[in-house]
Symmetry: C2
Subunit: 135 residues, 2 copies
Amino acid sequence: MATPKTYLTQQHKAILAFVSEQSSCFTAAELSDALRAAGEKVGLATIYRQLEKLEKSGMLQRIATEEGACWQRCDQDDHDCFLLKCEQCGRISHVDCLQLAPLYDHLSSSHHFAINPRRTMLYGVCGSCGEASHA
Amino acid sequence: MATPKTYLTQQHKAILAFVSEQSSCFTAAELSDALRAAGEKVGLATIYRQLEKLEKSGMLQRIATEEGACWQRCDQDDHDCFLLKCEQCGRISHVDCLQLAPLYDHLSSSHHFAINPRRTMLYGVCGSCGEASHA
DNA sequence: TTGCGTGCAAAGGTTTTGCATGGCA
DNA sequence: TGCCATGCAAAACCTTTGCACGCAA
């Protein structure tokens, strides 16, 4: 169970620095762009390999979306967090809310399904887009 | 608002026949295989184009998953339907349950988010896999 | 010095697109 | 006959992988 031997390379540190600042999820391309903008040169292959490691270590969770994969941090106190993606503007927001607990309980007790909110992205229409279409 | 002129081609009918039989969602590859098995020759490009049309017409909903896209039928009476995908066995099942209504209401009233269950896939661990890992 | 991590380039899979042809109405 | 739909092949796109080299420990 020991953490596999890991080298603290320049690239690893740069990626970790970016990830630590993210409050929502991000794509591999966004990470790549941010690193380039910061003057860090990290190849895409390395980015994918590091993201894979961070996912295996439990720090990140990979999520499938319409446009490709994105990753979000797994914070230990985020048990009641869901991602909401607007079908219209594409923005992703968080819901961190105890009201969702009944949903977990119901799925678990009645449908024998243990939901994993970290991997789940809810689709719908956000407030701004909803108002816009009403107007 | 009239339905765009559509030709009832052999391929269109074959795809429609397959889609009508599906109770859960399916991938483009599954559709292609099924058509081949049925002796229908339909190119992949046509399959994707037909699926796109069926989605625009409101008959199908496209869903992004880890392994690629899949499509499911939009039945008018499926308001309370969610898709559950097991992270372990990969199987996709349905929940069609009024108990989920409070979730919709809460997201709508407190978070101004109108969820679209048809496009949403919940990830977690299904009953069989949960039991297996407990054993 | 050891061997993990990296970069590059090539390969992989899925989905889209261009263009000439086919077939429904 | 008109024109949408199709097939094929090529392209686009994201992601993974092979291999030689670099670098942390």
